[in-house]
């Protein structure tokens, strides 16, 4: 049950702090999103810049880049996902504990980018794993990554803990493990996970 905002401010002036479990829970999740230390290509350089003193991602509670997927909450797909690398990316995502989030950073990660019509690059990581925030750019500026991070925080903040819109980790029925594509004779098999990605309808 939501607390009336004005009442909350009024009580705050009197020294009474009122909140809900949902608010507290989401505040905790959004304020300590630990990304995985994981870079794929040139976008990773921008990601590193974002964490350094000038842009300082630590201001948003994401300063600790974890070297293990077991300790990480956020996977920043920073760069080109080749078809050879894609199974490993999905496997790493499977190894992360819930709640977990994905930011697809840069043109390559969201669509294949300039390599889309090549033989070796995956046409977007959202074909295999659910992506929370997509950032275009080649590479995106650190500001864009911060924007994406803030968008993710907003998204976490707005998640209800019950009901149909609750996050995946609170839903016992939800799919927890995503099938890892197998390298086939000509392409990855399958070429996408239909549970995650369907062909967008293009109106021409």
């Amino acid at each position: 049950m939501a607390v009336d905002n004005e009442l909350k401010i009024e009580l705050g002036k009197q020294g009474v702090f009122v909140t809900t479990i949902e608010e507290l829970y989401n505040w905790g999740r959004r304020s300590s999103v630990w990304p995985m230390q994981f870079g794929l290509a040139c976008c990773a350089i921008e990601m590193i810049a974002t964490t350094m003193a000038r842009y300082d991602l630590a201001r948003f509670g994401a300063e600790v880049f974890r070297p293990s997927p077991r300790q990480a909450d956020l996977m920043i797909i920073s760069g080109t996902v080749t078809k050879k690398m894609a199974p490993q990316v999905v496997r790493l995502y499977n190894q992360m504990a819930e709640p977990r989030y994905v930011i697809a950073m840069g043109a390559c990660a969201i669509s294949g980018g300039p390599f889309k019509q090549g033989y070796n690059v995956l046409k977007g990581i959202d074909r295999y794993i659910p992506v929370d925030v997509h950032i275009p750019g080649c590479p995106p500026r650190p500001e864009a990554l911060i924007q994406a991070f803030m968008t993710l925080q907003k998204k976490i903040d707005e998640q209800p803990l019950t009901g149909a819109d609750r996050p995946r980790h609170l839903d016992a029925e939800a799919q927890g493990e995503f099938p890892v594509p197998e390298p086939g004779e000509h392409d990855l098999e399958p070429t996408s996970n239909p549970g995650v990605w369907t062909v967008p309808v293009v109106i021409r």
């Binding site: 050879k84 033989y119 070796n120 390298p183 004779e185 062909v199 293009v202 021409r204």
Partner: protein, 217 residues
């Protein structure tokens, strides 16, 4: 810097029956190259590396080229005996007719090596080797025993063009995965048909995307 002609003469003097051919480059770059016979390639390469006058001790680049089968149409003058009626009398006359003849020149796969001499500050020298055809006779000798730097690059040429380097110490795919069957840089490579979604399609891709869309509707 020696010219390729001089280097060719030096090779021919040192290696008997080397069979080196000059491949001229008519462009302003004029970077002519030497075509080696596969049987003699290792001997020639060893000479290029070890001869103190040439000392090509550094292999900077190995790459592949895919030359498709070429259909050549030539106009040939053919003399034929034709029976004609001239002035009411039947005569056999030799007549010269121009005919277009077509012949297919078989394609081949080519490996190109760029050599430098660090000791003599010389280079690049471009040497080439060709396979007999593009399908089954795709072997050529590896130059990795001569220049160790060729190892990964020959693996890459094997991966992307499918040239089999005989004598290579570790000939595996290097960029694509092991179970992959195609050679993507070959000109007749058919890429996987996964353009089901293309927001800014054009030309061939647009055609395919529209076909896919039509099959979904």
């Amino acid at each position: 810097m020696r010219t390729v002609e001089e280097i060719k003469a030096a090779i021919e003097a040192a290696v008997p029956d080397a069979g080196v051919t000059l491949v001229m480059n008519p462009s302003p770059a004029a970077q002519h190259s030497l075509l080696l016979q596969p049987e003699k390639a290792v001997a020639v390469a060893t000479f290029l590396r070890d001869s103190p006058e040439l000392a090509f001790d550094y292999l900077s680049n190995v790459t592949g080229v895919d030359w498709l089968d070429k259909e050549i149409a030539e106009k040939v003058k053919v003399t034929k005996s034709v029976t004609k009626t001239v002035d009411g009398v039947e005569q056999t006359v030799d007549e010269t007719v121009e005919e277009t003849q077509k012949r297919v020149e078989p394609g081949y796969l080519e490996a190109v090596y760029h050599l430098y001499s660090v000791a003599l500050k010389d280079g690049p020298l471009v040497i080439r080797m060709r396979t007999a055809n593009r399908t089954d006779k795709i072997e050529m000798p590896s130059l990795t025993p001569v220049w160790r730097g060729a190892e990964f690059q020959e693996r890459e040429v094997f991966d992307l063009y499918g040239i089999v380097f005989a004598g290579h110490p570790d000939l595996r795919r290097i960029l694509m995965w092991d179970g992959f069957k195609d050679h993507p840089m070959r000109k007749d490579y058919v890429e996987p048909d996964d353009f089901e979604y293309e927001p800014t399609a054009h030309d061939e891709v647009l055609k395919r995307a529209q076909e896919r869309q039509a099959s979904r509707d």
